[in-house]
Structures are given as C-alpha cells and as structure tokens.
C-alpha cells in the first residue's frame, strides 16, 4: 500500500477526531441554552411524523431520558422537570399507546415541587389510560398520586375504582378504592364498587377477598351512621367507639376481622387498624 495514502487517512482521521472533540466541548458549553429552546408544538410533530409515528415517538422519548440523565446535579430543577414532562407530552401526542413516557412521568412525580406539577403528570396518565384501556397501571399511578401527594381521597378512589374494573387487573385495587372512598368520607361509594365487583366475579379466591372487604366496609358504614345519630342526639361526637353502645345507639360493637379493631380517629371518623398498632398509638385510651 502506498504510504502517502496511509498518511493522508491518518491526517483525515486526526482532523475528524479533533473536530468531534471541539464540537463536543461546544455542545457542552451551549447545553443549557439548547435546553431552553422551545420544543416544536404537538400539531407540528403530528404533521411531520408521516408514517413513522412510532419511530419519532421513540426518538423524542430518548431525548426526554437524555435531558433527565444529563442534569448536572442529582437535583431535578423546575426547568428540567418541565422539559422532561413536555417531551413526554409530545411523545404521547404522537404515540399515545407508548408506555415508557407514562412510566418516566410517574418516576418524575417524586421530584415535583407542588400540586400543579403532580396534576400535570396525572393528566398525562389519565389521557394514557384512555388509550391503554387494557392497562390498569396508569390509573393506579394517577390514583396513588391523588392519595399520597394530593391527599384527595375521593379522586384516588375513583381512579382505583376504574382500575379495578379493568379485566386482569390487580384484585386488591377494589379494596384500595373502597379504602380511599372511606377516607374521603364516602364509604357508601366503596360498598357499591365492591358489590358491583362481586356481581362480575366468579373466581372463588377473589370473591372471598371482596366479600371480606365488603363486610368490613358495611360494618364501618353502620358505625359511621351510628356516629351521626350520636352527634345528632348529644350534639357532640363520641369520644370513643364504645360510647355508641353505652349511649344505646347500637346494642353492641360489631365483631371486627380477626386481629383488628374498630376505633375513632382524632377527627372522629370510624376506622380500622390492627390491634397492636392501635394499642401502640394509644388511640382507644
């Protein structure tokens, strides 16, 4: 081989490597500016996707991951948060069935700084659930966010209830929904859900689980009604659950599930807890 060619190739490769290094430095320097460049609108992306919706959504999602992964510190700034959510929103605008953007959005919830950011992610998850009708996960995530972060128990109950009705979903979702309704002071909604689930369930094990939950919430509903009667009669809430029997509102306390105990929490709401935990908290004292 002619040596002149070898030298030429080596020189060309060296120039290429140097250019790449220089460009990389330039890219690093302008990284922050690049991240502030507005993203193309969803409608524009829908126009240019042609027949490659899937592929385009894959690439935008990679960009979302890159934005999150390339942050300078462990902290997720508001800018990074908004950028990643916006990229996810664009990804699902092109391919609403794509699971990963929803999954990444849910992971982002832990970095959110306020209810508005959580609501934005929940909106994404609920839109996703409209398309992924077979998938109970997205409704579960949205319900969890309402319960854990926003303390909106009724909304959480509604979402868990929708998730529970998706065939093949986790059985415990119905119980969870009933629990949320109870916390949101709407135990009756939980009872209706459990009854409707029982009507459609044939599996013996699942029926057993649902019947136990139904029994529990029906008892709690009974106790809640008794508390209301007590309040109407004495104009003050009962101090402890046993007061309902002492005052003659109910003949005796219903039998709780094994190892558990009904009690009145600080706000005077009927709840159930394991006996040991209740004792530790000194709730009944």
């Amino acid at each position: 081989m002619n040596w002149r060619w070898v030298i030429l190739i080596v020189i060309l490769l060296a120039i290429q490597a140097t250019s790449l290094t220089k460009l990389r430095i330039y890219y690093k320097q302008t990284e922050d500016i690049q991240r502030t460049i507005p993203l193309p609108p969803e409608n524009f992306l829908k126009l240019i996707r042609l027949e490659f919706s899937g592929l385009l959504s894959d690439f935008i999602f990679i960009q979302a991951q890159e934005t999150l992964g390339n942050r300078k510190t462990g902290e997720v700034t508001t800018e990074t948060f908004n950028r990643v959510v916006s990229l996810n929103e664009r990804t699902v605008a092109i391919d609403p069935y794509f699971l990963d953007p929803y999954y990444l959005a849910q992971a982002l919830v832990w970095y959110s700084r306020g209810p508005e950011e959580i609501r934005r992610i929940n909106q994404l998850l609920i839109t996703g659930a409209e398309y992924r009708t077979w998938d109970s996960d997205l409704l579960f995530y949205a319900g969890f966010n309402h319960y854990f972060f926003l303390k909106e128990y009724r909304q959480a109950g509604d979402l868990f209830s929708q998730a529970a009705q998706i065939p093949g979903g986790w059985t415990g979702l119905a119980g969870l929904a009933a629990k949320m309704y109870h916390r949101g002071r709407d135990t009756a909604a939980g009872i209706i859900l459990l009854k409707s689930m029982l009507l459609r369930t044939t599996d013996k094990e699942i029926r057993k689980y649902l019947e136990a939950r139904l029994d529990q919430y029906q008892t709690m509903y009974y106790l809640e009604s008794a508390v209301k009667v007590y309040q109407e009669k004495f104009l003050i809430p009962p101090r402890q659950i046993e007061d309902l029997v002492t005052a003659g509102i109910i003949p005796s306390l219903p039998v709780p599930p094994k190892g558990q105990k009904f009690y009145l929490d600080i706000q005077g709401n009927v709840d159930i807890e394991r006996e040991a935990a209740a004792k530790n908290k000194g709730i009944n004292k």
């Binding site: 409608n43 829908k46 126009l47 240019i48 042609l50 027949e51 490659f52 919706s53 899937g54 592929l55 959504s57 894959d58 999602f61 990679i62 991951q65 391919d95 069935y97 794509f98 699971l99 990963d100 999954y103 990444l104 077979w134």
Partner: protein, 274 residues
C-alpha cells in the same frame, strides 16, 4: 393477441433491470444495518421494548420501500425515455398501454421481492428480540399476523405511490421533476388527514377561512391518503385491526392505482417522443 405475453416479458425485463441496479444492494445493506441497530436500540428503553423493536423493524421496511420507489422505480421508466430505448420496444408490436402495464408489473414484482427480503430481515430482528432478549416486554395482544398485515399494507401503499410516480413520469418526462412531485404527493398524502382534522375540528385551533376549508376537503378526496395503509402502531402495540378497514383500504389503493395508471396511459398515448 399477444397482450399478456408482451406485458409479462416487459415485466420480467423491468424486474431483471431493477435487480441489476446497485441501489438495491444499498437497500438490503440498510435493512441489515437496521437489524443490528434494532437489537441495540431497545436498550435505551424501559418497558415497551417490543413496541420499539417493531417500530424500527416496520419503519425500515417502509423507508426501504420509499427509497426503492422514488430512486430506483421512477428511474426505470424514465431511463427508456432518456436513452430512447422506448423506440426499440414500441416498434416491436408492443402497444403503449402494454408497455406501461409491463413496466408497472415488473416494478411491482421488484418492490414485492425487495420488501419480502427487507421484511424477512426485520422479522428476524424482532424474532430474535422477542425470543431471546425481551419477550416479556411485548404487548399482550402482539401477533405476527398483524405484523405481516402491516408489512402487506406497506406494499399496497408503495403500489399506490408507484402508480402516482408513473403518472408524473408520463406527464413530465424528467425523472427528477417526477421524483420531486411524487415525493410531495407522498408528504401531502401522509399529512393531509391530520391537516383536515385540524381544520375541521369542532374546537377550532386554527383560524381558517371557509374557502380554505372547502379547498382542503377537495384536496383530501383528490390526494392519495397514505395514512390509511399505516398499521405500524397496531402491530407494535398489539392493537386489534378491523378487517373492514383492511378491505376498504386495499380497495381504495387498488382503485387509486387503477385511476393513476389509466390517466398515465391516456397521457402516454398522446405523448410524442422527440
């Protein structure tokens, strides 16, 4: 009398000519590279790995098909006009209609064979991923049948595009102009349904005049709607495919192709080769 044999011989010649084209090797190499990329590409994702691999596999098929139609297919018909070899063919008791149909049949044969090769490579890449790498991450409803259907609909889409290309080849005589116009028709045909959706949406996002709305509606019915043939998302997410949609889409493709070829024939018959 010799109508069918003439078309058949022309089709075979066109097919062989296409096979000899080096660009075909390029298309095949692209598909092989994409297969390798497919196996590594899925590592960038968390859960929907099956969807990503199907996306890439079927997109490769479509992209290779587009390159084939626009850069090789249209060249095959224009070459005869440019090199004046068309005189040789037409002087041998081959009618202009037979010439056009023969060329189209040969090109379709070439497209189907090439798409079968690229499709097989893409199928193998998805199969490897499903069997050895990420089987559990495929959609529950995923079926090879839908995958095949998406491939077949790509071929129908390419058939329609080829017919459109033929029409413009006969209209313009210049391969580059025909290529540009066909590409534009493809772009419009892919995005027009979304434009129509935007313009006619109940809650107006864009402020559009009534005249423009009518124009878009007319354009919607004139231009080929290529988005009808796209089943990639259904294949990737294992979504059900309505047989009625397939039937009407194929019928639409066939009718559009026939109309384009008929118009091309009309123009071709009146064309004077100088």
């Amino acid at each position: 009398m010799n109508r069918i044999p003439n078309i058949y011989h022309l089709a075979v010649i066109t097919f062989k000519e296409g096979i000899r084209n080096r660009a075909l090797i390029g298309v095949f190499i692209i598909s092989l590279v994409m297969m390798v990329i497919n196996v590594t590409f899925i590592n960038f994702f968390m859960r929907d790995l099956g969807k990503v691999s199907v996306d890439l596999g079927l997109s490769t098929v479509s992209l290779a098909g587009l390159i084939l139609v626009l850069f090789i297919g249209l060249n095959l018909i224009s070459k005869d006009l440019d090199k004046k070899t068309i005189f040789l063919i037409l002087s041998r008791s081959v009618s202009r209609t037979q010439y056009l149909l023969g060329k189209f049949a040969g090109l379709m044969g070439l497209i189907i064979v090439s798409m079968a090769i690229v499709g097989l490579v893409s199928f193998l890449s998805v199969l490897v991923i499903k069997s050895f790498l990420a089987g559990v991450f495929f959609a529950k409803g995923f079926s090879w049948w839908t995958y095949f259907l998406a491939w077949a609909m790509s071929v129908v889409s390419l058939m329609t595009l080829t017919a459109v290309g033929f029409l413009f080849c006969t209209l313009t005589s210049h391969v580059f102009v025909a290529m540009v116009i066909t590409s534009l028709v493809y772009l419009i045909g892919q995005s027009l349904p979304h434009i129509q959706e935007l313009v006619l949406a109940r809650q107006q996002v864009l402020k559009v005049s009534d005249a423009m709305k009518v124009f878009i509606q007319i354009l919607y019915y004139i231009m080929p709607n290529f988005s009808l043939f796209d089943l990639k998302l259904q294949a990737a997410h294992g979504l059900p495919v309505d047989p009625g949609h397939i039937f009407w889409a194929v019928l639409y493709g066939l009718v559009y192709t026939t109309v384009c070829l008929w118009l091309a024939d009309l123009v071709f018959k009146k064309k004077e080769f100088v």
